[in-house]
Symmetry: C2
């Protein structure tokens, strides 16, 4: 079942183009993660937060990625990680053009 | 600039197909909201939470929807709404196949 993972955390930057340059190699590795369908990278320079919205093919893949990514973020100095796993309600999302593949 | 809105809140149900039947008319109205590109409906019957991930064409539309939807949720008895607005980092999301349109 398609599983949504939402992660956000306090973040001092870099944002925008500097974030792109600092993290494009990481992005190229993330899209290769097992079960990942897509990730939207999120950032808010005003509230000093960043994170991601992920769609995985199944819950086990999403949980495994969350465990790995949380450890990686913590190792890089990130604190205060907020993460939630959800099922997508497929027919309601379909009405609202939600991209579940 | 594409704006992501993530909302989640404590929710006792209905979930899954019952949620679909209870809320399909609401979903049909939501996809008509100004600036909305798509919404994924999220639910977790184990943690008793629900919410949504939204993509809007711009921040003003996302903020206006958030104000309206928060009032609607509160009026229906929902408490403890957590909502965050983010910009999408477009080049990083593109690497990760993130659906920004």
């Amino acid at each position: 079942m398609p599983t949504v993972l939402q992660i956000d955390f306090p973040f001092d930057g870099p944002f925008d183009e500097e974030m792109h340059h600092a993290m494009h190699a990481l992005a190229e590795s993330i899209i290769e993660e097992p079960g990942l369908i897509w990730k939207i990278w999120t950032e808010n320079p005003h509230t000093k937060e960043a994170g991601g919205i992920y769609l995985f093919s199944d819950q086990a893949s999403a949980q495994a990625y969350l465990d790995m990514h949380s450890a990686r973020l913590t190792a890089s100095g990130v604190q205060g990680i907020r993460a939630k796993l959800f099922e997508a309600n497929q027919p309601l999302s379909q009405i609202c053009k939600g991209p579940l593949q």
